[in-house]
Structures are given as C-alpha cells and as structure tokens.
C-alpha cells in the first residue's frame, strides 16, 4: 500500500494537513438541552398531570422525537450547520436530552433552527446507524419512513383498552410530509448553554383525547398534530 504511494502523494497529503491546521478555527462548545414541561410543571414520564381542558388526568409513558438539521444563524445568515445532524431525544434516557454543539468561537448567534423529524431523503436511505438505527423503535415497518414524534400514555378520558392513547407522527411523502421546521430567536447566550423548553400541555388543548386517541400512520390528523408539536418549543428566558 505504502510502496504504491508516490512521493508526490505524500507531499500532497502533507500540504493538505498543513492547510487544514493553519485554517482550522478555534471552536467552543455549546450545550443544547431540552427541558420538558407540562404547563408550569416540570414534566416526567409516568407521572399524573391534571389537564384542565378535559378536567382529567394524563400520564405519558413514552416520549421520543427526532431533532435534526441544527443550524445557527446571525440574523438571516447561516453561520454554522451541524454535520450529520440527527438526534433522538428520548425522555427515558437523560443523556439524550442534551446535545453538544462545536461551533466557531467568535460566532454571533441570533437564531437557532432545527427540524422535528427526519427529512425525506434520509427516511428513504435504507438501514442507518446510531440514533437512526431502526433498533430505536422509531422506524415504521410495514411502510418505509421514520416516526418523527412518538408519544404514548393513558388518560381515563380515553375510551380505549386500558385507556391508552398513542400518537406516532411521521411520513416523508407529500401530502403527508410531516417533518417540521422550527426557528427560535436567541437574545443572549453567555454561559454556553442553550435551554429549549418543550411544553406538552397545549397538545391536549388542541386535540380531544375522547375522539382522537390513536394516530399510527402518515395522515391528515398526523399532519395537524405535527404542526401543533412544532409550536411547543421555546428558548428558555434567563
């Protein structure tokens, strides 16, 4: 292998490394955390929350979703884009709730952009690994595509077996391309952490669990609920 590599190639490789070192910018780390709420209360799995709109209680057993395509902007210019940006946020796994971003040191940041869900090209790219490994239970089987957002729980108001409700939102083909783009303004960032609040309660104001308790396929109801989910995120005000 080495013998076949000419001096010219070695030199080129060497120059490339020199170039790479000379121009690599110093970076800093930003910790992005997702903090879930149910109304004013901090949200935890398997706890009862009272929902005034239905005057009943809600318990959530599974809550996971994909955050993808993270970008940082200064006004309207993208100043940094995460490569291979797919993160499975699973509230059963605390580590998954924070994401380390390595960004150029002297960046002025005024906006954060990301998607909830997985884009259509990636959804149709075969067997992928890491957070996108179908082992995570976020890939549909009978029909290709990722589940962007999965929420399962119980509420006495659901007239279903064991009062269960389950929402699997996804779909990568029009008219049910369910991935959502989210842009949040950042007013100031000083301690290199960025907390995103995620409030679940409005979901249960927008749907009636009595009538809608199961979405398991790419469909119109799923599209509507995906749009509601997109409104649940905000930057934590210091």
């Amino acid at each position: 292998m080495i013998s076949t590599m000419s001096t010219k190639h070695v030199l080129l490789l060497f120059l490339f490394i020199v170039f790479k070192c000379a121009y690599s910018q110093p970076t800093k780390n930003i910790k992005l955390t997702i903090q879930p709420y149910f109304g004013d209360l901090e949200f935890k799995l398997n706890q009862n929350y009272h929902q005034s709109s239905i005057n009943d209680s809600i318990q959530i057993e599974t809550l996971k979703f994909y955050i993808s395509g993270i970008e940082l902007l200064d006004s309207n210019n993208v100043i940094w884009k995460e490569k291979n940006s797919y993160h499975l946020i699973d509230f059963e796994n605390e580590n998954s709730q924070s994401i380390q971003l390595h960004i150029p040191k002297k960046s002025r940041i005024s906006k954060l952009k990301f998607n909830i869900g997985v884009d259509s090209i990636t959804s149709n790219s075969g067997a992928l690994g890491g957070d996108l490994d179908p082992i995570n239970g976020m890939y549909w089987a009978w029909q290709s595509g990722y589940i962007n957002f999965k929420m399962e729980g119980t509420s006495p108001i659901c007239e279903t077996r064991k009062h269960k409700f389950q929402f699997h939102l996804g779909g990568y083909k029009q008219p049910f391309y369910a991935m959502q783009h989210i842009t949040l303004p950042i007013y100031h960032l000083d301690d290199n952490t960025l907390q995103i609040n995620f409030n679940l309660a409005p979901i249960f104001n927008s749907i009636s669990l009595k009538e809608t308790h199961s979405i398991m396929i790419p469909c119109k109801d799923g599209m509507n609920l995906s749009k509601v989910v997109a409104q649940l995120f905000s930057i934590h005000a210091l």
Binding site: M5, V18, G126, Y139
Partner: protein, 350 residues
Amino acid sequence: MHFKKIHIIFYVLLIGIISFAFISKDTTPIIFTIPQNWPKPHYDFSKNTLTEEGFQLGRNLFYDPILSKDNTISCASCHLQATGFTHTDHDLSHGIEGKIGQRNSLALMNLAWQKNFMWDGGITHLEVQPLAPITNHLEMDESLDHVVKKLNASVYYKTLFKNAFHDSVVTGQKTLLALSQFLVQLNSFNSKYDKVIRKEKGVTFTEQEKRGFTLFKKNCANCHKEPLFTSETFENIGLKVDTTLTDLGRMAITKNSNDSLKFKIPTLRNIQFTFPYMHDGRFKKLSEVVNHYLGGIQNSKTLSEKLKGKPILLSHEEKIDLVVFLLTLTDTEFLFNKRFTYPITQKNNY
C-alpha cells in the same frame, strides 16, 4: 508547536492507511454482475459493499428462526429456495404459533432492480424490508431491538459480524445490511428464455414456445416487461374483492382512492414454482391465471387502463402455448444454487 502537531497527525494517518490495507485484506469482495442487456440496478451498492463474509452472515440470518419472537420462524419459512423463495401451497403465509398472515408471500429474486417492496409497495428500500416480517404480529412478532440482543448474546454470530464488519458488536443497521447482502444476490437470469435471448449455443425455443412468446409480447409484456418481467407499477387487474380480507392494496399506503385495489405487478420469472398466484393466492394453476384475463376481469373505477376495452381472446391451443412459454422462465440454476441453500455451518446453539 504546530509542526509537532502536524507530525503527529501525519503518522496517525499513515498508521490508519496501513491498518486499513490490512483490514480490507480479510474480507473477500464480491463483484455484482449485471446480466447482459439488463438495466442498471436500483440498489446503491456503494453504501453496502458486498463481501463474501457479509453475504454468509446474511445467509445465516435468512435461515435462522432467531429473527422471530419464539425462535420458530425464519425468513426461509415463507421464502423457500426451490420455489423461487416463496411459500407454495399456502394462499396466505404463516407466522409464529400457526398464525395466518393476510397476504401471499412474494417470490424473492432480482431485488436489486426493485424500487418498491410488498404487494402494496409500502416499503421503498430493500434494507428496511426485513423489518416488516420481523415485527408483524402475524409473522415473526419480534422487535429488531430484541433480535439484536439475541444476536449479541451469541458467540457464533459475534464472530460472523466481526468477520463481516470488523466489529463484533451487533447493531440493527449491520443486521439489516447483512440481510440485504444475501437478498441482493438472489438473482435469476439463467432460464431457458435468457439463454435464447443471449443466443447461447444449442438453446432455441420450440415452435410452441415461440408461439407462446409472441402471444406473451402481445398481451402480457406491457406490464410484465422484459427482462425483469415486471414494470414495477401497481395495477388493478379486476380481481373480485375477497370479502374475508377486503384488501385495498396500494390505497392503504397512499390513502388515495385512485389506488384502490391496485397491487404490485410481480415478476413472472420462475412462475412455474411460485404458485399459488395473486396477492391472496387465489389461483393455484397458471391456467386459472390465464383464464382470469380471458373472462374473469371485474370492472371497477380503478381497473387498469390496459385491461379496459376489448377482452383478450385466446383459443384453447393458444392458452397452452402461452403457459408453455411461461415455463421457459424457470431457472433451475437459481432454484438449486448451492450458495443460496441452508448454511450447513450454522450452529444450533446460540
């Protein structure tokens, strides 16, 4: 300081290149052959480089009931090689605990040329296709997560994964990639028909086969396009709805009423052995299929345009000629290829 850093990076790279050269030595690459005059395959081999080790791992997985919940059903339970990798004699395929599925299993061959999988085309990539039978509660009723746990607990499989991927840690991705390596090589292109088309020495159609081929080209080839004998589209061929199943086919995926009762056009290669026919296995004999097109078509809103208008008229002799031609699509080299059989090295204790 910088210079030192460069030095270190350079040597690290050098070591990397050397070790890469060593790694690539211990897997045996497989070159995928595209049969003469065939279109370019749809499958992207650049993301799943074919190796002998990957193929053998996939073959082991294909024949192993470890993929099912109670370790009783393997892929091969419904996809038997001698019958074109489908389940003959069963209109609907079986699952664990004697459960009966809702459709007739499809034959597996020339999958690298397929864009859509399943009768309704719900699956659009070969690599994720195995998830459907693995997780369907009427089939293997298992989760990929649990399959991976079982494989990780098996010394036998850890070795096979190490051989194929240089890493003994089993993941869902690697499991699916290995299965695809096996599936993508189940290729049938050595039937009598192929040999005649390739003008191989001493192989010619009989007069009857020639007449059948002419009839085929006139009446069937529009959908069952050569050389793959499918056009990869979905059509409603006017089958009377089986009310015990009420299977709407493609519409279940697209939610579009224009797709109601449409099903994937299956390949006709090895059709002699892939009976029963249709998505619900309603026809046991090829003659019954031919008769359907001659007089059994039920009109409906979504009936294929190609079947509207004048019905196909064939005499009794012509029907036989057509079926005789279809038998030339049998590829015994494929059906009895030892590379695709049960891997005898497979251990029973994991």
